[in-house]
Assembly symmetry: D3
Amino acid sequence: MKNLTHIDQQGQIRMVDISEKPRTFRLARARAILKAKKETIKLIRKNLLAKGDVLSTARIAGILAAKKTSQLIPLTHPLNLTNLSIDIELKKQKIILTASVKTVGQTGPDIEAITAAAIAAITIYDMVKAIDREMTIEKIQLIEKFGGKSGHYQRRGYPDK
Amino acid sequence: MKNLTHIDQQGQIRMVDISEKPRTFRLARARAILKAKKETIKLIRKNLLAKGDVLSTARIAGILAAKKTSQLIPLTHPLNLTNLSIDIELKKQKIILTASVKTVGQTGPDIEAITAAAIAAITIYDMVKAIDREMTIEKIQLIEKFGGKSGHYQRRGYPDK
Amino acid sequence: MKNLTHIDQQGQIRMVDISEKPRTFRLARARAILKAKKETIKLIRKNLLAKGDVLSTARIAGILAAKKTSQLIPLTHPLNLTNLSIDIELKKQKIILTASVKTVGQTGPDIEAITAAAIAAITIYDMVKAIDREMTIEKIQLIEKFGGKSGHYQRRGYPDK
Amino acid sequence: MKNLTHIDQQGQIRMVDISEKPRTFRLARARAILKAKKETIKLIRKNLLAKGDVLSTARIAGILAAKKTSQLIPLTHPLNLTNLSIDIELKKQKIILTASVKTVGQTGPDIEAITAAAIAAITIYDMVKAIDREMTIEKIQLIEKFGGKSGHYQRRGYPDK
Amino acid sequence: MKNLTHIDQQGQIRMVDISEKPRTFRLARARAILKAKKETIKLIRKNLLAKGDVLSTARIAGILAAKKTSQLIPLTHPLNLTNLSIDIELKKQKIILTASVKTVGQTGPDIEAITAAAIAAITIYDMVKAIDREMTIEKIQLIEKFGGKSGHYQRRGYPDK
Amino acid sequence: MKNLTHIDQQGQIRMVDISEKPRTFRLARARAILKAKKETIKLIRKNLLAKGDVLSTARIAGILAAKKTSQLIPLTHPLNLTNLSIDIELKKQKIILTASVKTVGQTGPDIEAITAAAIAAITIYDMVKAIDREMTIEKIQLIEKFGGKSGHYQRRGYPDK
């Protein structure tokens, strides 16, 4: 039976020991979806057209959060990220946020990508909450992973959204 | 037409000015759902029974993240939180995380509650990802809010899960 | 002869004791100027026209830095900032950044305003350095202060720039 | 025509991808000047002679800020700094702060050096502001850079101050 | 039988709810002792006489750590500290560090004082470890507490050291 | 005569320059002891038996603090830790906390291990202080070190506790 890698024999949490893993190129992508009312999305689109900075604020919050991941998620390893971007797509009733993170290190940046997508989505929520308190963040998930022993992983159904 | 409170006339982001709001008691609750395979949930339950600390790790990560919110979400105000708790419920194929946050301050801790729930969920994801990479975090949403001008808000459908 | 308030009889640093000061409304404004080549400013302006986010990145970096001031500048007191904005003006050969910070607290947010202006300016420097390494940040100074015993202060020569 | 490296085709900010750059030794030096009244400088010198710790406080604040740069300046990469020092020189009407930063990494520590010099200068301002609110921080600039593709750069006019 | 205040009926950790406590003046003092070889203390004393900054570095590290306590110790409440100082005394074979912390808030700063004393002691250890790796930090303890329901507490045996 | 490595000729603090040291595997272990009344230890043991999370909270606080060391202790170098664990043993009148830290880097993680042990101990103190304010943290010390020029070091008397 499979075991939880972050848990030792006594059920206690532990960091996974990556001391002997090689430093290699690794990449991860994760996605979050912010569901909102049509008119909320319209306002955001209007802000975008007016050169407003709702979406850039979300992008930067996501980028900074990825760099802060080892402080936020207790058992993650500090990583020197070498590239970070947050892509944001406006649909009629939702906003799709995709975080791509690269590193050259001993483990992959999947949690960094997930954290970046989640925090970017919460940032938009925060800026828009006064007009639409009922927005929901959906489907935070890892969609791609490259590097390390497990090779290339792409989530089923992706890139279909 | 309604406007984005965090955006000025030029479309530029700004913090909402709360200087003249009174310091009052305020509360917020938010929820996140981590969907996982049945056997993943079973492993987590087994860890719990064995006095393991997967769930406490998530709770602490969520609590610390709530206290860090003003650094993570750019336009939020620093708040002196007076109480914080993360309730975690294991269901057959999902884990329900509910964060409750209190403050005595000039604005409510809704983003703190949402951030706590999201980070607690990502923390479980991190500890279990080696056995189930396809978990998804769903339905991050505000479910209750109390205090301030807008009074008591309870999300429709809640407490049904 | 005047003394350094942050230094005790032995010349050792100390925080100023504000325990008995009242919580009142206080405001501070500070400015930084980034001097650059004409063509550098042109590129930034072009980015702005193209709805790019160089300036919003600087604004957000400044806002986050103001909230982080008590960690950056050792003897400052933690303050619950109630409002923060960074105004950025493009001139032919320079960029003028003005940070305005408000709080309701026991001391004023002058160092928060200065830190915000400085970090916003360094953020622009960072994004543009590949094309103009010789930009200089000039005239970081406090330009206005309101609240507390010392009343309203406005720097001489201001608002002339 | 030159382009902004931190900006993509759509004008959106992005981190520069350094994944394929080699890890090499890199160094940067930056300077800030704090202009103050003669008597202010005298007080600081007196503190120094009395074994006071105004200048050490500034040095430590600058060193800690350099290590925090990737959290302060959104598009910078986390770097493992291998050496850091802040040199502080008292002149009649000004204080010259020079930060030297080394790393073995995939990009240079120029923004770290600039941030260290700026924060060290603001720290002195903070400790002395009660007696001289009109101090100004001037000429924050990169003065030297070594390592990476661009070779050795030394700013014109330097070391003349 | 007494209960653990930070633990609920299920044995799960929780923050203590201080929402209804009044904001009052509170103070705490804590101490740590760094035991070292005589010659190590001599070197530190020599540095002090030479206007060196070993002790100021420790003081500043302690002050910054106190302000960071709510991020370091999971169940502590964020507090707006109003005064902070670290007193350091050199004895023949030990260094006595005493941290005094004040706040106007809903709970007392005892953990802030303990954290400040501990981190200041570790900072000296770090700077001196190359010559004396066997130093030990002893007797980290709360020595005084004032404010709140429990009144004035002074540890037995104190001020004897 | 030996010199302080973190101090230059003028007695000013400086970081040790590790730019030319090789990246190798390094490990450190440190210990802290929390002395408490028998009944306090009993309550903690009861919490443990009840699957409570007092000890996991301490473990996580220690792990996060180790990753934050370069921000807490001014002259330490940022390190990419590759493994971290905190072992906690309950005795009749004391709790023994042992932090083990690994890295692949240019310097060893001794201060990280000491910081982790100290913060984990303070975390237990915080959770239990309402019933036993007089607990003391004793004997924070480095007990083992491996890697780097100085080879393998094991403290005398260890593993005897």
